[in-house]
Each structure stands twice: as structure tokens, then as C-alpha cells.
């Protein structure tokens, strides 16, 4: 799956959860975004799972701390 496609979809979900005013780039992490707490993190991941049609493992959920981490996992899960 094209990286730019992944980014655009993740960005859309990110902004719908955390607001358009929050900066989005691959280095953005939960500590940069007000309201991105652990509960919101799971909601965020769940929406991504729904969008891309796969499930994060528990370890993957725990290890993702930045947008870049999330996109890398999506890439690995969706690349044939």
C-alpha cells in the first residue's frame, strides 16, 4: 500500500479524534497532543484497524508511540 495513502488515511482519523489544530507528522507522539491518553490511543488504534481491515497485536499496540510507528505497522500488515 502506498505510504502517502496510509498517511492521508491516518491523518484523517487523527484529526477526527484530536482536532484539526493538532500538528500531524510522523514524529507526533501522544506527549505532543492534548487528549491523546491511553484510552484515546486504543480508540485511535481501533479506528485504524477498522479502516485498514487488520488487527494490531497487543505488543504492537503497546509499542506504537508515534504516528510513524503506527504507519510502519500498517505498511507491514498491508504489504503483500
Amino acid at each position: 500500500m502506498e505510504h502517502s495513502y496510509i498517511i492521508s488515511k491516518v491523518k484523517k482519523i487523527f484529526h477526527s479524534l484530536f482536532g484539526e489544530h493538532n500538528e500531524f507528522n510522523e514524529d507526533t507522539s501522544s506527549s505532543d497532543v492534548h487528549g491523546w491518553d491511553s484510552l484515546k490511543h486504543v480508540v485511535f488504534i481501533s479506528k485504524i484497524e477498522e479502516e485498514f481491515g487488520f488487527r494490531f497485536s497487543l505488543d504492537e499496540m503497546q509499542e506504537t508511540t508515534t504516528i510513524g510507528d503506527i504507519c510502519r505497522i500498517i505498511d507491514s500488515k498491508t504489504t503483500l
Binding site: 501522544s30 491511553s38 480508540v43 481501533s46 497487543l58 499496540m61 508511540t65
Partner: protein, 375 residues
């Protein structure tokens, strides 16, 4: 990041250990631990607390489990999810990790009695469950602004200082008196209208044999219902105590409630022509009354509820009412009563799929289930 499991047999000792009490955050107060250690449904090796520590050994998150048995299916033990806290900005790994650890410790035999809209999707993601919404009300029965302003939390320190100063001035007391001087006579009038001939009401702390039989008759599909053993444990081992110099410092490191000036449990019995027709376990904490458990003879339902509210209208010392009981909520939706403020609330409850074959999908829950009855 590491997770440590604490069992019932070690809980009290853990709560009193210097290492625990001297930390920045504590995972349980000693009096809560003492209470939980006496849980009649718990076994010594039950995991009842899991905490996470950071690289410096400080507690940065914890989750509790309250062992219980499914009533009517006494061999089936499970745990209520209880007290899930994570330090701000530590990340999702700890939060998710704690939930995962407690689920595994209890083999997914977990029930949730007090979820909200934000944590419901998280729980259902990790613990496939049957989730139900429980609408309810928070009602300001009458004015209690001095207590509300004194207890109000605000991030802005200037606003907080202003509110706390206001709470201790005569202005707020006078406002309460003035509002209640107008409201209470109206409430007494309404209470007289609602009160029905042939109905008597009484309150006591004791749970009698008659009460237990009544509960058994009217429990419907409740996953849990009080019996004498459980009730005596809750009554004699409170989680909220009076503040002292010693326990104040300990409790300042604990996120959840630790104190209450007033924290009582009482059974309210409503009899029609001498026959028990309504039984309510009410908790009163700092003038807020909660309907922990409610059992009603369906053939006299409306009558019982009318008289229940006559009782609330008459009791000046009750300032707030919180209830999620479907009968009470339905009654409040139909009947407008002279209370100061109605606020709709929502709770969610869930039974994990691992337990559904014992409870059935049409299970019901009451407000006092889980740890709610303690707080």
C-alpha cells in the same frame, strides 16, 4: 515497565509496606486493603491488585479486581473490575498492559459495573463482552452550594481559591438557606400528596431474614444480589473513613476517594398494609443518597416509587440523589418533582463473554454492584 501482582493474602501487608507508602503514588490505601482482605468471596491467592512501575521503581499505574460470586451459581467466581488508574503521559502501554494482565489473571471472568463512554470501547476491544447502557439521573434535591463550592475542583488556582473562599463565607450559606426556605415547603407539600394511606416506611442498618427472602423473590436477572455475609462485610469494612492527620498524607497519594464525613448504609423498607413491598439499600455519603439496590413488588410498583420519593422529599438532610435503577429512572422521567436540578447521566456495564453462559445475555445490574457500594 514491569507489572506486579498482589494477592489477597499479601494485600494488607503490601499496603502498609514502607516502600509502598513512601512512593509518590500509592496503589491502595491501607483501609481499603484491610477491607478487601476480608472479602468473603475471595480466596488467598486471588490477584486483586496489579501495579506497574517505571524505570525508577515508582508506581505509575494500577488496576484492581474485586472477587465475587455469581449469585445462584455460587461455584462460579469472577472479579469486578475496580480502580484503574494510570499516571498522566506515561503512555498507552501501561494502561493496556494493566487491563490485559488483570484479564489474564482472572481468565477473562470479569464484569464491569461502572464504565463510561470513553472506556467502553477500550474494554470491549480487549475483553469481548455483552455491554449494556444504564441511563440515570443526578438530582440536586435541594440547595447545597456551600458543600459544592468547597468540593469543586478547578485547574485554575485563582478560580479554585475564589470558590473555596466563597464556600466558607456566609454568602453561600445564606443562598442555601434562602433557596431551601422557598423550596422545602413545596417539597413537603408534594411529599404529602405522594404519600399513600396504608403505606409505612422504616429504615435500619440490619438486613433481616425477611429482607433476604424478599430479595430472592424480586432479584430478576441480577448477576449479583446481597446476602447477609456480603452485606455485613461491606457494612463493617468501609473504604471511606474520616480524615485524620495520619491518614491525610497517605490518602493524598491515592487517586480515588478515601474520606467521607458521613458514609452510611441503610435499608429502607416500604410496606403496604404491613406486607413488605419495596426494599432499597440506600447509601448516604456527605448528604448524597444513592440507590445501591432496589427490589420492588411489581404489582405495587408505582405506589412504592411514589412513596419512595415522598421519603426523599421529606428528608431535608438529603441534598443530592444519584440513581441508575431503571424503575426509578422511568418514574423520574414521567413525574416532575420539585427538585432543584435534574442532570441525566449514563453508565455502562458489561459481562465478559466468558461468563455469559452463567448469567445469560438478559442479565441485569444494579447500582451497588462492584465497588460502587463502597463509595
Amino acid at each position: 515497565m514491569s507489572f506486579t501482582h498482589i494477592s489477597i493474602k499479601d494485600l494488607e501487608q503490601f499496603s502498609l509496606s514502607l516502600a509502598h507508602l513512601h512512593g509518590q503514588n500509592i496503589a491502595i490505601t491501607p483501609w481499603r486493603a484491610k477491607s478487601q482482605a476480608k472479602n468473603p468471596s475471595a480466596k488467598p491467592d486471588d490477584t486483586v491488585l496489579i501495579y506497574a512501575t517505571d524505570e525508577h521503581g515508582n508506581i505509575c499505574g494500577y488496576i484492581g479486581a474485586l472477587p465475587a460470586r455469581i449469585q445462584g451459581c455460587y461455584k462460579t467466581r469472577f472479579a469486578w473490575s475496580s480502580c484503574w488508574w494510570v499516571k498522566e503521559n506515561v503512555g498507552a502501554a501501561i494502561s493496556i498492559g494493566l487491563l490485559n494482565e488483570i484479564l489474564i489473571a482472572w481468565d477473562y471472568k470479569i464484569m464491569f459495573s461502572d464504565m463510561n463512554e470513553s472506556n467502553t470501547p477500550v474494554i470491549s476491544r480487549f475483553c469481548p463482552s455483552e455491554i449494556k447502557k444504564r441511563p440515570g439521573f443526578l438530582i440536586w434535591l435541594r440547595a447545597d452550594l456551600c458543600r459544592k463550592t468547597a468540593g469543586y475542583r478547578h485547574k485554575n488556582r485563582i478560580v479554585l481559591f475564589f470558590l473555596k473562599t466563597l464556600a466558607y463565607t456566609r454568602i453561600v450559606h445564606l443562598a442555601d438557606l434562602f433557596i431551601n426556605a422557598i423550596l422545602f415547603p413545596l417539597q413537603l407539600l408534594k411529599a404529602r400528596q405522594l404519600k399513600t394511606p396504608g403505606i409505612t416506611m422504616s429504615e435500619s442498618e440490619e438486613l433481616t431474614v425477611e429482607d433476604v427472602n424478599f430479595i430472592n423473590e424480586h432479584k430478576e436477572n441480577d448477576v449479583f444480589y446481597p446476602d447477609t455475609k456480603w452485606y455485613n462485610w461491606v457494612l463493617d469494612n468501609p473504604w471511606l473513613v474520616k480524615k485524620t492527620k495520619t491518614n491525610k498524607d497517605i490518602a493524598s497519594k491515592y487517586y480515588f476517594s478515601s474520606f467521607a464525613d458521613e458514609n452510611n448504609l441503610k435499608w429502607l423498607r416500604i410496606r403496604k398494609n404491613g406486607k413488605l413491598s419495596g426494599l432499597f439499600l440506600l447509601s448516604v455519603r456527605n448528604r448524597t443518597v444513592k440507590t445501591q439496590f432496589a427490589y420492588v413488588d411489581k404489582s405495587n410498583e408505582y405506589l412504592i416509587l411514589k412513596n419512595l420519593f415522598s421519603h426523599f422529599l421529606n428528608k431535608y438532610k438529603y441534598k443530592n440523589l444519584i440513581s441508575f435503577h431503571p424503575l426509578i429512572v422511568a418514574f423520574l422521567r414521567q413525574k416532575k418533582l420539585p427538585f432543584l436540578l435534574y442532570r441525566r447521566k449514563e453508565r455502562y456495564c458489561a459481562v465478559s463473554n466468558a461468563l455469559l453462559n452463567k448469567t445469560g445475555k438478559d442479565f441485569t445490574m444494579q447500582d451497588g454492584m462492584g465497588d460502587y457500594v463502597f463509595t
